[in-house]
Amino acid sequence: MIQVQHLSRQFRSTRALDDLSFEVTPGVVTGFLGPNGAGKSTAMRTMVGLSTPSSGRVLISGRRYDEYREPLRVVGAVLDGNGFHPSRSAGHHLGYLAAANRLPKARVAEVLGLTGLDGVAGRRVGRFSLGMKQRLGIAAALLGDPQILILDEPNNGLDPEGIIWLRGLLADLAGQGRTVLVSSHLIAEVALSAGRLVVIGRGRLLADSPVEDLTPTGGATLEGIYLALTSGMADFRSGHRAGDVR
C-alpha cells in the first residue's frame, strides 16, 4: 500500500506537486497518467525518498521510505534516467545493490534470469541497448522480491516482445497481491495492463478510480476520457491536431 498524503513540491517558480493525495492499493496494477510535466516522476521520486517534498508525505506500508534500513526488500523502483555506470557490468551493478541491503548473491543471478539478461551479466552497461538497460532496471527493482513496485515508464525502449513480457509480469505481481504503480504515456498499454487509474495534471489529482468506472458502457475510449480529463492541463501540446496535418 502506498499512501500519498497532501504532497506539495515547489521548484523555484513552478509547483510540481500541489496538495496531491491518493492511495495505491495491493492486488491490482495501478496506471499513473498525466501530461508531460504533470509531476508523475516527481511524485514517484518522492515515494522513494529521492525528492524531498515541500509539505506532505508518502507512507509505504505505513512508514516513510527513509525509515526502512533495507528498503529494497519492501519497494522496487524503476525511475527515469536509470543510473548505471557505463563502465560497470550488469552483474556488478546488481551486486552492489544486493550487498547494500544484505540480499543473497543468488538473487542477482535469479533476477538476471528473470529479465532475460543472464547471458550478458559480465558485459559493461555502456554496451547495452536502451531495451537491455530497461530490463536491467526492472531486474534491480525485483532484486529484493518487494511487495511494492514503483515503475516510471518501464516500457521505454522495450521491444514488442519485451512489452508483452512486462505486461504479463506486472499482472503476475499484482495477482500475487503486490502493489504495482506504473506510469506510462502509452494509453493503449495502460488500458491493457491497469485495473486502476490515477490521473494527475499540474501536480493535482484529476482522477482516481477503477478503469471500468472511467470507461462506462457507451463506447468512450480511455484516450478520449484522458484527453477530456487533462484538457487545459497540458503544458506542452502541439499546435495542430492530427487531423489538421495536410
Binding site: 529521492l50 536509470n82 557490468s89 556488478h92 541491503n101
Partner: protein
C-alpha cells in the same frame, strides 16, 4: 553483519568494479615511484658536478618523494571521480534508493576510500623511500628509516596523499561535476602556489597555508632554508592545516550530499 558493514561492502564493490579506479591508482603509484627514483638516480649520477648550495639543499627523503607532487594529482583525481562519476552517471539514484540515509552513504564512501587508498599510499611512500635510497647508496648519500625524522617524513608523505584524495572527494561531493571539481582541485594543489607567491609582499600566511608547503614541512628531514623559511609552516602547524582542509572540505561535501539530487 550490520547495515553499516553492508553499506561498506556495497561501496567497496562499487569501487572495485570500475576500471578507472585501477587506472588512477596505477598512474599515481607509477608516476610517484618512477619520477622520484629518476630524480634520485640523476642526483647521484651528477653529484660531483653539483654546486655546493645544490648539494646542501639535497634532502634524501624529500627528494625521493619528488614524483609525489604529480602522483597527488592522480590521487586527488581519484577522490573527485569516485563521487562525481556517481552524480554524472546517475548511479547515486539507485544507491540512495537502496540506502536512503544520505549521510550514512556519504560516510561509507569516505571510509571505503580511506580503506582502499591509505594502505596503497603508505606502501608506495615506503617503496619510493627505499628505491630512492637505493639509487643514492653508491654515493653514501642515503639515510636509514631509523635516522632522526625519517620515519615521520615517510609516513607523512603517505598520509599527505590520503589528504589530497579526501580533498578531491570533498570537492567532488560539493561540486558534483567532474570537470569543475577537477579544476578546483588542480587549482588548490598547484595554481594556489603562484597566487600565494604574488601576495608575499603583504603576507606569507597564504604561503604557509598551501597544501604543497604543508607537505614540504611534513616530508623534509632538514629544516627549510633561505627564502623558504617564511613560506613553510612548522610541523605541527602543517598537520593542523591538513586536518583543517580535510574537515572543511569533507564537511562541505557532507552538507551537499544531504541535498536532493
Amino acid at each position: 553483519m550490520s547495515t553499516t558493514a553492508a553499506l561498506l561492502r556495497s561501496e567497496l564493490l562499487k569501487l572495485r568494479s570500475l576500471p578507472s579506479t585501477y587506472i588512477a591508482v596505477a598512474a599515481a603509484v607509477g608516476i610517484g615511484l618512477g619520477v622520484g627514483t629518476l630524480v634520485m638516480t640523476s642526483t647521484a649520477h651528477n653529484w660531483l658536478e653539483l654546486a655546493p648550495q645544490d648539494r646542501a639543499a639535497f634532502d634524501p627523503v624529500a627528494d625521493a618523494f619528488f614524483g609525489f607532487q604529480f602522483a597527488e594529482l592522480a590521487f586527488g583525481a581519484l577522490g573527485v571521480l569516485v563521487i562525481t562519476s556517481e552524480y554524472g552517471s546517475g548511479t547515486m539514484q539507485p544507491t540512495l534508493v537502496a540506502s536512503p540515509r544520505r549521510l550514512m552513504v556519504y560516510a561509507a564512501k569516505v571510509a571505503t576510500l580511506v580503506l582502499v587508498v591509505l594502505p596503497i599510499c603508505v606502501a608506495s611512500s615506503f617503496a619510493a623511500f627505499l628505491l630512492g635510497q637505493h639509487a643514492v647508496a653508491a654515493r653514501h648519500l642515503d639515510v636509514a628509516l631509523s635516522d632522526p625524522h625519517v620515519l615521520r617524513a615517510v609516513v607523512g608523505a603517505g598520509l599527505y596523499m590520503v589528504v589530497v584524495t579526501l580533498v578531491g572527494f570533498g570537492l567532488g561531493a560539493l561540486i558534483r561535476h567532474t570537470a569543475g571539481a577537477l579544476t578546483v582541485m588542480f587549482a588548490l594543489v598547484f595554481l594556489a602556489w603562484p597566487a600565494a607567491r604574488a601576495v608575499e609582499s603583504v603576507s606569507y600566511l597564504p604561503d604557509r597555508w598551501l597544501l604543497v608547503n604543508a607537505a614540504d614541512a611534513l616530508v623534509s628531514i632538514h629544516p627549510p632554508s633561505g627564502p623558504d623559511i617564511p613560506r613553510t609552516p612548522s610541523l605541527s602547524m602543517a598537520c593542523l592545516e591538513l586536518a583543517t582542509y580535510v574537515v572543511v572540505l569533507l564537511g562541505a561535501g557532507a552538507w551537499r550530499a544531504t541535498r536532493d539530487l
